[in-house]
């Protein structure tokens, strides 16, 4: 997992800004929404992994994937996609691994955003 972690940038800021119309403020607002959503989904995923609820694992992964794509977060998008796949193929080990990776990628994003402030 570690080699993949650093292969993709946490955010393509230029692309994200272009998509949303160039407003830094609005990007910040969306990232705040993303943060809340991400935390909610992670809790959901932890519970779903405990309960082996593959349906929820797949849905949460899918939803996070969409959100990440909108904000041009390639690393998180890819991890979310893997989560969706893990849910679909009912692979609990992969789901556990991917949850860790998601959290790691999220930290990377936070670091990156803090640095660029």
């Amino acid at each position: 997992m570690s080699e993949k972690t650093n292969s993709l940038p946490p955010i393509n800021k230029q692309e994200a800004l272009e998509r949303i119309g160039g407003e830094e403020e609005f990007l910040k607002e969306l990232l705040d929404i993303y943060r809340t959503e991400f935390e909610k989904r992670c809790q959901e995923l932890e519970k779903a992994i405990d309960e082996k609820n593959y349906q929820v694992i797949q849905e949460s992964g899918h939803s996070l994937k969409g959100a990440s794509a909108n904000l041009s977060l390639p690393a998180l998008r890819e991890a979310a996609y893997e989560m969706e796949t893990a849910g679909k193929s009912q692979d609990l080990e992969a789901a556990k691994k991917t949850l860790k990776r998601l959290k790691l990628e999220f930290e990377r994003l936070e670091d990156f955003l803090n640095q660029s402030k």
Binding site: R19, I20, G21, E23, F26, E29, L30, I33, Y34, T36, E37, E59, H62, S63, L64, K65, G66, A67, A69, N70, L71, Y81
Partner: protein, 337 residues
């Protein structure tokens, strides 16, 4: 923020539904759509989306394919089955790399689909298509409404035309047979219409006829129907009226016509009186269109023959329940004594 080029007004506050469970996508769409002049309703699950979709004023919806509760294609299918009176243009949104079936989506009733993340230039163009379709439907409905009005009303008097009043009578016959409530029918002829035409010209006659219809409209219940049967012959349909009530209404109309001042080009004409042939369903053994018109027509003929300005009511049977009702009324009266 307020770049001139991005502010393109579409229409003033066109309502639009965004059904999307991901709050980032939802907020992003909301902001863009508001900039384009839409008023945005948001739903984060299928049930809430369904509630908003059914609102008659809502004509465009962006539906996420995968949503908790009811999914996008299911919503499309459900809405198409619901037979909403106005068309709603449905655009499905789907993640680019999810396997999805375009045919399944379109067959479920979607008009269009887009992949996420949404390209906003494309979305704007697709929404213009949506507006065009909705505009076409609105225009079509307007024309349809106008044609229906033209096909059912009499251009001179604005009463129902013959075809329409006949249809109302048939409907009333059906209703009466179903729930047993009676109805009355009046066939009305203007007594001295020929003299009016001779004295004031045909345009004068037209004016008087119009005033007669207006007088009736102003004095009848909103659900009574006035129709023009022929030249100066009018038919009035009185739902939920038995033979007594029908007679009362008819004599009331006689009285109104007698007292009314009719004008031609601002000057009062000679008085106008009516002859009325009346019939009610509760005193007919056979309630059908033919027997109703024929009986009312015969009554009208007699009213004319006996000297005009009067009502004649014809019937050929008194149903036992009417007789019974009268007896009950009498008995109540006597027992009170």
């Amino acid at each position: 923020m307020e770049k001139g080029s991005t502010k393109i007004s579409v229409r003033q506050k066109f309502p639009l539904l965004v059904a999307e469970d991901d709050p980032v996508t939802s907020r992003l769409l909301e902001k863009k759509l508001k900039e384009w002049g839409y008023s945005v309703y948001k739903a984060e699950n299928g049930e809430k989306a369904w509630e908003i979709l059914r609102k008659p004023g809502l004509r465009i919806a962006l539906l996420d394919w995968m949503m908790p509760g009811i999914e996008g294609p299911q919503l499309c299918a459900r809405l198409r089955q619901a037979k909403k009176p106005r068309y709603t243009y449905l655009i499905l949104l789907t993640a680019k790399d999810t396997s999805f079936d375009i045919i399944q989506g379109l067959e479920a009733g979607a008009d269009d689909y887009m992949t996420k993340p949404v390209n906003f230039l494309e979305l704007k163009a697709r929404l213009q298509t949506a507006q065009r379709i909705i505009g076409l439907e609105d225009r079509w409905l307007q024309v349809q409404k106008k044609l229906t009005r033209l096909a059912t009303t009499d251009p001179l008097t604005h009463a129902w035309n013959r075809r329409a009043i006949m249809r109302f009578i048939l409907e009333e016959i059906n209703r009466c047979q179903r729930d047993g409530r009676p109805f009355g029918l009046l066939m009305i002829d203007l007594d001295n219409f020929k003299q009016i035409n001779d004295a004031y010209g045909h345009q004068g006659g037209d004016q008087v006829l119009r005033q007669v219809v207006r007088l009736f409209k102003n004095n009848l219940r909103t659900y009574d129907r006035i129709g023009r049967y022929g030249g100066d012959e009018l038919i009035i349909l009185l739902p939920s009226c038995n033979v007594y009530q029908t007679g009362t209404v008819a004599s009331h109309l006689l009285e109104l016509a007698r007292k009314n001042n009719f004008n031609v080009r601002g000057r009062t004409t000679t008085p106008v009186t009516l002859s009325i042939g009346a019939v009610a369903s509760d005193t007919l053994s056979q309630v059908n269109l033919d027997s109703l018109i024929m009986t009312a027509d015969r009554a009208l003929y007699l009213a004319k023959k006996l000297g005009r300005d009067r009502v004649i009511i014809f019937g050929d049977s008194v149903k036992p329940e009417i007789r019974e009702k009268q007896n009950v009324r009498k008995n109540k009266f006597s027992s009170a004594d």
